[in-house]
């Protein structure tokens, strides 16, 4: 038990310390440290997951300070699942980045412009220096980001949640900026959004504190439930807080129509960074959103309008993101728009939260549902979709980034036939496409199934329409991304010639084991399809109902 509690603290502090330590090291040592740290975090997360799965929530007051000013770490089912997904994706991407340092960004080094390297970016003269692939700044930033993510997932109070979110945001902006000067404007734009979102969140937190007098997530939830039970309860401040928090977090998860920043940020980030941003960083905001809506606010009827607005934005996101994805001609923006579309799914459950009655099927023969089932099903479905998205999108972005580094472009038309030389990458993309479309077996399918059954049980049939449309759209745009890679010949006779690889063909990291990383994640996307029951069980631990 005490060992598990140690893990709880260490899983936040170890990456933070490693991040600080790595600043002092050389670039090779940073890589080694990065891999060791990711193995350590993976190892530290396991006992937490095991303990939580056995039905126990964990709590640790860090440094012995009690609330309100102390740091309380708490792990329940939701935390453990997100923690585990982050550990897996983080570890795999870390290994990829260590195996392919060139994927971590671009840096400007002084020297005479090398004709070859210069062509890679811009033909004209620049500030003196040359762009070289690889940026050792990746490691401190990413490890810091990881620490922030774990802090968000394990935080027991809203204050530390805020600090964790800020750490994630700050490092994520800097990680985008590693992509060289094409990425700087995108990073800056991301910075504005991140700060704005955080400020809105902070005001919301302050409002909740002013109503409840505590920042602890569970305590404030209880107080708000108590207030709501009173007859003349004035919950205007809580509703306002929820509005601000939801708006702030919607900015950070890039919910339509607040999604514009995500496309340049995710698509211009370096190959090893895009998967982290898409799979993990936006999940932090989603996690906080679920926490606040389910644990802090509870099913207040006053929130109905907000819930419907957000769900409507979610449905619009699925539509807009998919249509925009279909219109892209480049791989990485297409995948980024696919993220925008997938974000929509995670907001659909909000109206269900306020109306968790199995009204539609009551009195039907053979119906075995009870009221808790809708809430549990909707939350498990959403979490399954989010986790499945994390695995699949990380794999997809890694593959796409790898192809981009190989051929110097991610124009889909120029990559026709790339699958011939790199079957493993195409296979990874196919596996992650299965997960993103939500075909069985995959976590995405389990998620859609759970969400759809809860929606039908609660009589929210509109959700079925949205899910069906989203599935068809995602199949269409992913097919558009993957199918051209399979082309072998332009007509039935001639073989296809691929664009000349821009990186040196003898670069062993591009053809070597690094390709395994997206494949492992793709495989996990499919294999986790068996975890539907287990996931629902884990989420019951520390659930708010």
């Amino acid at each position: 038990m005490s060992l598990t509690l140690f893990c709880l603290g260490a899983v936040v502090l170890v990456p933070l310390l490693a991040s600080a330590l790595s600043v002092l090291l050389g670039s090779v040592a940073r890589r080694v440290l990065g891999v060791i740290t990711s193995a350590a975090v993976l190892g530290l997360s396991t006992p937490i997951l095991v303990q939580v799965t056995s039905g126990q929530t964990l709590e640790l007051a860090l440094g012995g300070f009690e609330s309100p000013l102390g740091i309380t770490l708490r792990a329940d089912g939701l935390s453990a699942l997100f923690l585990a997904m982050t550990a897996v994706v983080g570890a795999v991407v870390s290994c990829y980045a260590a195996a392919r340092p060139a994927s971590t960004g671009k840096r400007l080094v002084p020297g005479t412009p090398d004709r070859d390297a210069d062509k890679q970016h811009h033909r004209h003269t620049e500030p003196p220096g040359v762009w070289r692939a690889g940026h050792a700044g990746f490691w401190p930033l990413w490890l810091g980001c990881w620490s922030g993510l774990n802090a968000v997932f394990l935080s027991g109070d809203l204050f530390n949640t805020y600090v964790g979110l800020e750490l994630v945001g700050l490092t994520a902006v800097a990680l985008v900026a590693l992509g060289g000067r094409d990425a700087w404007p995108a990073a800056l734009r991301y910075l504005f959004i991140a700060v704005l979102g955080s400020l809105l969140f902070l005001i919301g937190v302050a409002l909740i504190y002013s109503v409840t007098g505590t920042l602890d997530i569970i305590d404030s939830g209880e107080i708000i439930t108590g207030l709501a039970a009173e007859d003349d309860a004035d919950l205007a401040a809580v509703v306002l807080a929820l509005c601000l928090i939801s708006l702030g977090l919607a900015l950070k998860v890039a919910l339509v129509p607040l999604h514009r920043w995500l496309i340049p940020a995710h698509s211009s980030a370096p190959s090893a960074v895009s998967p982290l941003l898409s799979a993990l960083v936006i999940k932090a905001a989603l996690f906080v959103l679920l926490r606040v809506w389910l644990w802090v606010a509870g099913p207040l009827p006053e929130l109905a309008i907000l819930a419907w607005v957000l769900a409507g934005m979610g449905a619009a996101a699925i539509l807009v993101g998919s249509v925009m994805a279909l219109r892209q001609t480049r791989l990485k923006p297409l995948i980024a728009y696919s993220t925008v579309a997938q974000v929509g799914y995670w907001f659909l459950l909000l109206p269900l939260l306020l109306d968790p009655e199995t009204s539609a099927l009551e009195g039907q023969p053979g119906t075995t549902l009870d009221d808790g089932a809708v809430l549990a099903g909707a939350l498990s479905g959403t979490v399954a979709l989010a986790l499945g998205h994390g695995l699949a999108k990380a794999s997809l972005f890694l593959s796409a980034g790898h192809l981009k580094d190989l051929y110097g472009t991610d124009e889909i038309a120029d990559l026709r036939g790339a699958g011939r030389a790199h079957p493993m990458l195409v296979m990874s993309m196919g596996l992650s496409a299965v997960g993103l479309i939500g075909l069985p077996l995959s976590l995405g399918f389990s998620g859609k199934w759970l969400l759809a059954t809860s929606a039908v049980a609660a009589g929210h049939y509109w959700m079925l329409v949205v899910l069906v449309a989203g599935t068809l759209f995602s199949a269409a745009y992913l097919l558009k991304a993957v199918a051209p890679l399979l082309v072998m010949s332009e007509d039935d006779q001639t073989e296809l010639t691929l664009p000349q690889a821009q990186t040196r063909p003898e670069d062993p990291t591009l053809t070597g084991k690094a390709q395994l990383a997206p494949f492992v994640l793709g495989l996990l996307t499919v294999l986790t399809g068996f975890l539907g029951v287990w996931l629902t069980g884990v989420l019951e631990v520390g659930a708010p109902w």
Binding site: S446, L486, M488, V533
Partner: protein, 517 residues
């Protein structure tokens, strides 16, 4: 083998369906990373898995059909819903067909793809395709069925797109569009039905709770039935959902054979049989009033497919439309609801598979060896490739329904069933369809045997392996020829020996009697 199984401890029996699914899955996993040039190892893995599977099926037959054993395996999948693999006679019937034809098609494909690229990918997905088919046949509830049904969709896409030409990619895209749309309809139907009655376990006479649902809520039940059959009808190529099938002809010949005879089309039809027999039950379906519309749709598809086949000059296209027509016999037989007709429909699952796979093997041979793609290019091929042409002729006669082929048995059963049912007019559909079948197959047979190859223009006489003694005679590659001859022989055998114990006809009758009491 049989005695070994009988002595096997009872707790091992449930493992067999899982082992069978894992067998081809393991083969796929082992094949994917193989380097392109390790031909022998790949062939070894493929054939070992395929042979092992056929042996397991043979071992299961007496236990399941005679002793009434129902090996079952289940694992938790979604809250309240398990992944269930269960062997019942119908499952065994379909699994037996797919295992046998997988073995033969693998032999054929090994020869067919010799010297081409991406063989590891091809055989990997090929094995996955069979994994999905076996999974579909052993599925014990609707959700398990759905999982494998969607898996089949995904893994056949790379097979159809195998050549990587724009035409094949286009066909694969259209196939995927159809199949995913159909899968989605099935998914909605399954979700909806599950909300009413919980996990839909297949059971003779209808799943638990469905009869009550039909009685109390006919409208949703009707919609659910429509979604399920409509979704499955896409793969079964029921009119008007058949558009993908003729296009998918661009795939390599073994894939076409697999799609038409075993995997995709059959999975759809098998699903319809399952929904009708084991989800709704024929009584509930009759109560819903869906049987007659289904019968009419099947009858129309039969005639429409035959008519379209008549208009095609390309052999593979003609065969494709012929499949659309022939597969609907199964639906036709099942929708007539009597033992004779249902036997005819169910046995046609296997009979059509054998005949169609023969025809596709032969079409592939013609295309590969003498580059004959259209009917007119086949003129005189009988002298040049007598064995292939003989096998093709057997398959064609089977399709027409001439005795003593397997097709005759199916049509005889269906015909007598039609007379015994409330819909005697179906007999005229069978007669009309047989005439159309004759009209589009007999010209091919005529061209094969009764046109002198000397008359054929010399430029069409390109060939792969000309014989020195007789310049017109060509030697077919053995690995392509032998499977075709075996399936042709089986087509005759199951026709002649239809009354043997465990012959397809007897098993089909057993199944029909089980369903209809």
């Amino acid at each position: 083998m049989v005695t070994w199984l009988e002595q096997m401890p009872g707790e091992l029996l449930p493992a067999i369906p899982v082992v069978m699914v894992l067998l081809s899955l393991t083969a796929a996993v082992a094949i994917f990373p193989l380097p392109e040039n390790s031909v022998k190892l790949r062939a070894g893995i493929n054939l070992t898995a395929a042979v092992a599977k056929v042996l397991l099926i043979i071992a299961l037959v007496p236990a399941v059909v005679a002793d009434g054993a129902r090996p079952e395996f289940s694992a938790p999948f979604l809250p309240g819903i398990d992944l269930v693999l269960r062997v019942d006679p119908l499952a065994l019937f379909f699994a037996g067909l797919s295992s046998l034809l997988w073995l033969l098609t693998t032999v054929y494909a090994l020869g067919y793809l010799r010297g081409t690229k991406n063989k590891s990918r091809f055989f990997g997905f090929f094995s996955l395709c069979v994994t999905a088919t076996v999974g579909i046949s052993f599925s014990g509830n609707l959700v398990t069925f759905l999982v494998f049904y969607e898996l089949l969709t995904v893994v056949t896409y790379p097979l159809v797109a195998h050549w990587g030409t724009p035409a094949s990619l286009r066909a694969a895209r259209i196939y995927l569009r159809y199949a995913l749309g159909g899968g989605l309809a099935v998914l909605i139907g399954v979700v909806w039905l599950t909300m009413y009655v919980g996990p839909v376990d297949f059971a003779d006479g209808g799943a638990e709770g469905v009869t009550e649902l039909v009685a109390s809520n006919p409208m949703p039940a009707l919609l659910i039935f429509g979604l399920l059959v409509g979704g499955l009808g896409v793969k079964a190529a029921l009119f008007p959902l058949h558009g993908w099938l003729p296009l998918a002809m661009v795939a390599p010949a073994p894939v076409s054979a697999l799609l038409h005879a075993v995997a995709v089309v059959k999975a759809g039809v098998f699903g319809i049989v399952r929904v009708l027999h084991d989800v709704f039950g024929v009584e509930a379906a009759a109560e819903l009033g869906v049987l007659t519309p289904l019968l009419i749709l099947a009858a129309f598809t039969i005639l429409y497919g035959s008519y379209q086949a008549l208009r095609q000059q390309e052999i593979k296209k003609r065969l494709a439309y012929s499949t659309i027509s022939q597969v609907s016999y199964v639906v036709l037989g099942v929708a007539m609801v009597n033992v004779l007709a249902t036997t005819g429909g169910v046995v046609h699952l296997v009979h059509q598979g054998l005949m169609k796979v023969t025809l596709f093997f032969c079409a592939g041979l013609f295309a590969e060896v003498i580059r004959a793609h259209t009917v007119s290019q086949l003129r005189g091929a009988g002298r040049r490739m007598p064995l292939t042409s003989a096998a093709f002729t057997v398959g064609a006669f089977g399709m027409i329904g001439l005795p003593p082929t397997a097709g005759f048995i199916s049509k005889w059963q269906l015909g007598t069933g039609a007379l015994a049912s409330e819909h005697p007019w179906v007999l005229w559909v069978l007669v009309g369809s047989s005439l159309l079948n004759a009209a589009y197959f007999l010209p091919v047979v005529y061209a094969l045997w009764f046109v002198d190859p000397e008359e054929v223009e010399p430029e069409t006489l390109v060939s792969r392996g000309s014989d020195a003694s007789d310049p017109l005679r060509v030697r077919e590659p053995k690995s392509l020829l032998i499977p075709a001859l075996i399936t042709a022989g089986l087509t005759l055998f199951v026709g002649i020996a239809a009354s043997l114990a465990f012959a397809p006809l007897q098993v089909a009758r057993f199944i029909a009697e089980g369903v209809l009491g």
